[in-house]
Point group: C3
Chain length 242, copies 3
């Protein structure tokens, strides 16, 4: 039976960057949507978009299409967003799938889960750019897309968009910890993902905040969407199915 | 030269659930036995079987067949049993192979190595079921057989049998720590095994209690016996050979 | 465009043991050198060779051939050596690639990064052998080349040479921490490498001393040079490219 997937992109991305993986999931017979969040669309004001705006834009996307039994997948920063969506419209969801994604406690912001040297760097970038942030290429190439060659590292970097920094510093409003949310939960861990250093990494540090969850792992970097979309699609299907 | 393997199953299993992997090991030219431990046979009294009973049943199996140079493999709870067997008939053994298995210190029980929330859950189940325990399906599906589809998760769950809880709470009697036992030792770690949470996991937390040991890893869940028997057979051969 | 690689072997090895992997890197179009360090050549005096001697021999190798833009790869103890080379001739290097290799802080010796039980064992061996050390076969077979069969474990062990122990106890002279060295940096982690126990292991404990670095991982033991040279060659190319 076909399932309905909604893929929520990470910071600096839009839904378009997830389309290569989405195509593989569709080929397995499922319906897949890749919305772009408020704050990452061309005309959005990066200086003003809040985390609440981004969450609301995902809620509206699901409600306007009257989607139900959604397998809601969030990558990286997208974990903040799907956590907020689950808090508001759990009745439309079947399962949450975090893909190397942030799992906030109630009242946490994304920066609370990030090493201090990254927070300091982004603070400085945001202060100089009307509270929007970009990722320096060198960090992208070495720590985010370490499994790609230089050509792909460069061409993928060229597709990124400036990101509204308030979405990293706004504390999330959640009625209860994710561990108490009555939905299926999965965590996909790409094993060479060093967007967070492995001494302070995604899994199990953040994944275990989900309470009972299903672990799926695959080889790949944080940006496997570019370097191996077939692999991440397969992992998402293993994570998203009943 | 063909080797002799004895595979000791985990809690809720019998030897029959290990037969699919055993067939692959036999195809590589070896002799493989899959006994069912006391406490997991159809007519055993789950309310009365002790850890000592289970260990004794494995010792008798090996002695009655006069097996020697045995590569003794234990899965999960089976690690308690092979540790006890090694304490009693090391002279019949060549190597111990722990497959995501418990490695007790002298005087420890299985529950001493398990997260408190599992112990609390099993205490409650045992109190309501004459000191026998089953595993809730939701935990089986998400944390034990996370690499299977729902059909296999259900059909494998249907094969489990109630387990005598005293074998989790009885302290093991060992003359010396496993690190001091003069046998070859290996640890097979299935990398997506979340039967124990990865913040408190099998390897290296328990494996390093073996002292000098050989690590073999493969992709798979705690219940790879069902989801990929060829893979676990290959890992066991790499772990069990000289 | 072809790149220039220099592969620096670990303790007990010579460059010859890296030739199988080097051939695969050459087949991908690159130039590869595998020098043997001072202290590991047939006529070297194992009782007198210092860490500085080994570093100097690698510096001379690169300078005498006037190599530039070198991708300098160090395995295990070779990490000490490439760290020292980078301190002296960074201008000839493009990138440092540590393959399950030691990353010293300024003033550290190799033994500072090794578990106490290994240091004690080597101290005793060195005291009895004019300050040279060999590795007991049992440790080699179980913890260093755990992915090989017994024949390969034995034939590879037969190729090892006694190692000058001063190179393990000499403190390294570095002008700055590796994290501050302005070169590309990569770390290759063979996932079943238990030459260091996984509770005190290579990555991320030592890799993160590099500051921003590129992680590449592959299945394999510490001695993947023997057990799967094609695999380690592929990982080195992913780690060494721009």
């Amino acid at each position: 039976m076909p399932d309905t997937y909604v893929l929520i992109h990470g910071a600096w991305h839009t839904g378009a960057e997830l389309e290569a993986a989405a195509r593989h999931i569709r080929e397995a017979g499922h319906t897949v949507h890749c919305p772009t969040l408020a704050g990452n669309r061309p005309d959005d004001d990066r200086s003003k978009t809040t985390l609440g705006d981004a969450i609301t834009s995902a809620v509206h996307f699901i409600e306007q299409r009257q989607l139900t039994d959604v397998r809601l997948v969030g990558h990286s920063y997208g974990g903040m967003v799907i956590s907020g969506v689950a808090d508001r419209i759990a009745n439309r969801l079947k399962r949450l799938v975090y893909v190397n994604a942030f799992v906030p406690l109630p009242g946490e912001c994304l920066n609370d889960m990030v090493p201090p040297h990254y927070v300091g760097m982004f603070d400085a970038i945001a202060a100089a750019h009307h509270n929007s942030v970009m990722l320096p290429f060198e960090i992208w190439r070495e720590a985010f897309i370490n499994d790609a060659d230089l050509d792909l590292a460069q061409s993928s970097y060229a597709r990124l968009n400036a990101h509204p920094y308030a979405t990293f510093t706004d504390k999330i409003n959640l009625a209860r910890p994710l561990a108490e949310v009555a939905l299926g939960k999965s965590y996909v861990n790409c094993q060479q993902d060093t967007a967070l250093p492995h001494s302070m990494t995604w899994h199990p540090r953040l994944s275990e905040r989900l309470g009972l969850f299903r672990l799926v792992e695959c080889p790949g970097s944080h940006e496997i969407w570019f370097s191996d979309p077939a692999q991440i699609a397969k992992a998402i299907i293993m994570a998203g199915r009943d």
